[in-house]
Symmetry: C2
Subunit: 290 residues, 2 copies
Amino acid sequence: MPLSRVGVIGLGVMGRPMAANLLRAGFRVSVHARRAAAMAPLVAEGATAFDSPAAMAAGCDAVITVVTADADVQQVLFGAGGVAEGLAPGSLVIDHSTISPATARACAARLARQSVQMLDAPVSGGEAGAIAGSLSIMAGGDADAFERARPLLQAVGRTLVHVGDCGAGQVAKAANQLAICVTLQGMAEAFCLAGAQGVDPQVLLDSLRGGTTASRMLEVMGPKMASGDARAGVESRLHWKDLRIVLDAARRAGVALPGAAIATQTFSALQKAGGERLDSSAIVRIVRRD
Amino acid sequence: MPLSRVGVIGLGVMGRPMAANLLRAGFRVSVHARRAAAMAPLVAEGATAFDSPAAMAAGCDAVITVVTADADVQQVLFGAGGVAEGLAPGSLVIDHSTISPATARACAARLARQSVQMLDAPVSGGEAGAIAGSLSIMAGGDADAFERARPLLQAVGRTLVHVGDCGAGQVAKAANQLAICVTLQGMAEAFCLAGAQGVDPQVLLDSLRGGTTASRMLEVMGPKMASGDARAGVESRLHWKDLRIVLDAARRAGVALPGAAIATQTFSALQKAGGERLDSSAIVRIVRRD
């Protein structure tokens, strides 16, 4: 049975444009948020607002969650009045949040007990990708759940990869964030070294762009590092959170990730220096010891 | 006076296609190499072969060097029968090698005493960029020397940036290599983490490609890390050499670059494990402790 009635919880920078893309793709979209103001633009586009996750979930074939951290997912799904109270057997949960693989697996196991499938389906591509519907989605869970979810995923993303079993989507996302944050560390050190030897950061950026380091990251973050304009963007507290997931996963897997450890320390220092809501490019200030 | 007679020393992976592009652009190209076989293909295309750097330099308006390390540049320029012995006052040396900023400045100062200008002009873009004539060139030296050299640089590169005074090109290149090597460390850790949790490296690569980590580096090195095919490519010993330049420059400038230090340790371990001539993607073996 195709999924047509979709609930969305988490109407932030990512969730709101994703819900709008689901509406445009023709799905019947329900929403829940603590603040009515967050729902209003979507209701204006045709979504139905609900007072609680449970009430919303009761009328849905699939529920999509796009929240921040492990505790948020657990609360939305299993808290009082949570999604799990409303879901019918046979329905599907798709969590687009970035949380730890271990928490994703635990949530999936708990939902399975009430015959609800879950995909951990974190995304990459940022706000621009969410608005354009061009996100990269890394999904973990049963193959048949992934196929059922495909029309929904296609409405919000362009690159859809079924990575493996429950938790595998979060593992791939952790690997993705690890690569991003260590690359940012390297970029910040490059600006630091060049600046210390008197090279203008804008000129450095011009020279980096033409060579092997050319990348989407350099295009987005390079100008911010060069100019010092650290308005988010991606708030550094989110990458910092992701790095904790990375190091937790590394600890559980018994692997040594020294680059991730270094980047985590840089991001930690930025948090303490008041940079939680600055763009992650602001780590250049920590590396340079501004 | 425009530069028309150009000598090239260092006919390796980079230097040979660069000399060929200079020939195609209409310059009168002279070459010197210890092995006649290295010169033969260029002689067949119209270059003139010389027995010594000094003999070659005597007939040139500009001499281009494309060798490996600081000692090679010093030997070629100032050794017995070296370039400096043959150069006329008013001529120009362009060094496309990647060496330390300090050595580049010292060479430039020594040439200045015989009224020869020098540009440190390291390149980024690899063998493919050298063949296509699309290298990114980061040049340090006098602005008028950069303008004199522009027709030569345009014959081998597409992105030409005058970074600043003597040594500034090497500073930018060091920053570039720092960003590359730390990014490689992050990519290797991403494959390590995902693999340790059972995610197939090819599937991880597919999911990374669609998101924020999309980059030229990922396109070139990702498949090698995923498959384990570590045929060079860029031999890891060259990146390792570059990292020593980075750390030396950092020490002189008094900046802390922990990401570069970690990457250096990984590359050092790969050298000791017999991976000097493997592609740099082989660092994934060290990170994973294969």
